[in-house]
């Protein structure tokens, strides 16, 4: 079943070029949603969701801002249809947050001491050469 379109208008030109990729991503998302939870930790089962969400938004963002392959009209259409995450892209436009993994990791209200998630610490500053998978999205370091 194709993804439901909330607005009555038909998608602008160029939609057919991006549609297959978006369909694939949707398919991946559906698989991630229906995966079994066996053998995974409670948090770990949510990580693929965040990952695919990031990927979808990244695709649209790249197309418009980096490669300039789609029109602003199409880009706005994707944002309105919630194909890409508007707020996440807004962060990517800021310096230092270009590779932000998800919005949860910069939410200071979620932490005990009002800080960012451990994945926001640049690898250079994180001594002992240890691997971190952040608890929210499984990110291994999204800055630096």
């Amino acid at each position: 079943m194709p993804k439901v379109r909330r607005s009555k208008k038909s998608p602008p030109e160029g939609w057919e070029l991006i549609e297959p990729t978006l369909d694939e991503l949707d398919q991946k998302m559906r698989e991630a949603e229906t995966e079994s939870h066996e053998g995974k930790r409670k948090q770990e089962s949510l990580w693929p969701i965040f990952k695919i969400h990031h990927q979808k938004s990244r695709y649209i963002y790249d197309l418009f801002y980096r490669r300039k392959a789609i029109s602003r009209e199409l880009y706005n259409f994707c944002l309105e249809e919630k194909i890409a995450d508007k707020n996440l892209i807004a962060k990517w436009k800021k310096t230092g947050y270009e590779n932000l993994c998800c919005l949860r990791c910069i939410q200071t209200r979620d932490t005990n001491f009002g800080t960012n998630c451990i994945c926001r610490v640049p690898k250079g500053k994180l001594e002992e050469g240890r691997i971190v998978e952040c608890v929210h999205c499984g990110c291994r370091g999204c800055s630096g």
């Binding site: 005990n112 001491f113 240890r130 691997i131 971190v132 998978e133």
Partner: protein, 426 residues
Amino acid sequence: MATSKTTNTYNRQNWEDADFPILCQTCLGDNPYIRMTKEKYGKECKICARPFTVFRWCPGARMRFKKTEVCQTCSKLKNVCQTCLLDLEYGLPIQVRDAALKMKDDVPKSDVNKEYYIQNMEKELAMGDAGAISGSKVNEPNEILMRLARTAPYYKRNRPHVCSFWVKGECRRGEECPYRHEKPTDPDDPLADQNIKDRYYGVNDPVADKLLKRAAAMPALPPPDDRSITTLYIGNIGSLLEQDLRDHFYQYGEIRSLSVVAKQQCAFVQYTTRLAAENAAEKTFNKLILGGRRLTIKWGRSQGRSGTSVVNQTAETYEPVPGLPGTLPELSNNFFNLEPGHIPLPNMPPPPSLLVPPMYPPPPLPQFFFNTRLPTFPPPDLAAVRPATSTSAIENVAIVNKNNVHYPSQDPSRLGATQLHADCQE
């Protein structure tokens, strides 16, 4: 149903509130910068089961987060850290500390009794800090406890727990796994089954047992069997003077005499009472450090350097049996003017050479004893007893030269019990 605010607040088991945790340095970790969370009524106290304020912090890199396990009331009652339940001063288990300080603490362990006790204690603690805390009785640092205590902090107890998945071979986290990928402790090891309640009440604690055994095995100086010995040998005095030693050793009891042998770097101190000597030995053995040096304390032998062997010579001495081979021949060169047959006992104390210490005109060595005493102390009470032949006037010694009596049991006047003084009056 109306519940007024004041109903039934008298005997409520109050939930505990606190501002700052009671912790030991090891639990806090090596980093002086710590961030700690505080959660009111976060968990139940492991001992009294009341909700209390839980503090949680990270004691260092690669350490698990620690939190307070028992409430402040319970920890104040026993003067222990809220997390590790070890003494705040020495870092030793409660059982060890109580055994060393001979403290008996009767905290009830069961149900309502316990709740009642804790409740009252909390009230007392809140009133005034003076009485209720058992830890306030620590006045002087206890020797045994100081020996047993650790010198450096033991951070191994802050390590994360062993990864149980890895033990089964199923750990999928690999490198980023925060738990330890090590072999778990041997389940047969007695230290493996520890129980927080047992550790708190000081009962059946395997770590404490181990430490107590080690304490018992520490070197000790047993008092000698001969109850007349009241002399202590003090070695390694270096340049200490007699006065320094006197100044220290007088506190254990009245010093009968103290002689220093500088050449051998040692001294002998003799007390008037055996009890004082034992007290001194206990307080100084392996502990006393004077002049920057640890002094070696040992028991002296029966006749110390300090002269008067009065104790040994109250016994009556008899003429040895003439026919026996043991009788010593007459001295041809009687340099010391000794009574024939009265060869004095060799001087017992071992190493020091028998120099007469210059500061001591009296009492001289037993060798010279008979000679010098002679003119000065003729005991008047013995005059009657002493026959004309015996001229050596040893103080209080009755030299009985009775016919055919060579042993005390041969003496017909002796009726069972010793008659040391009865003979004097004959």
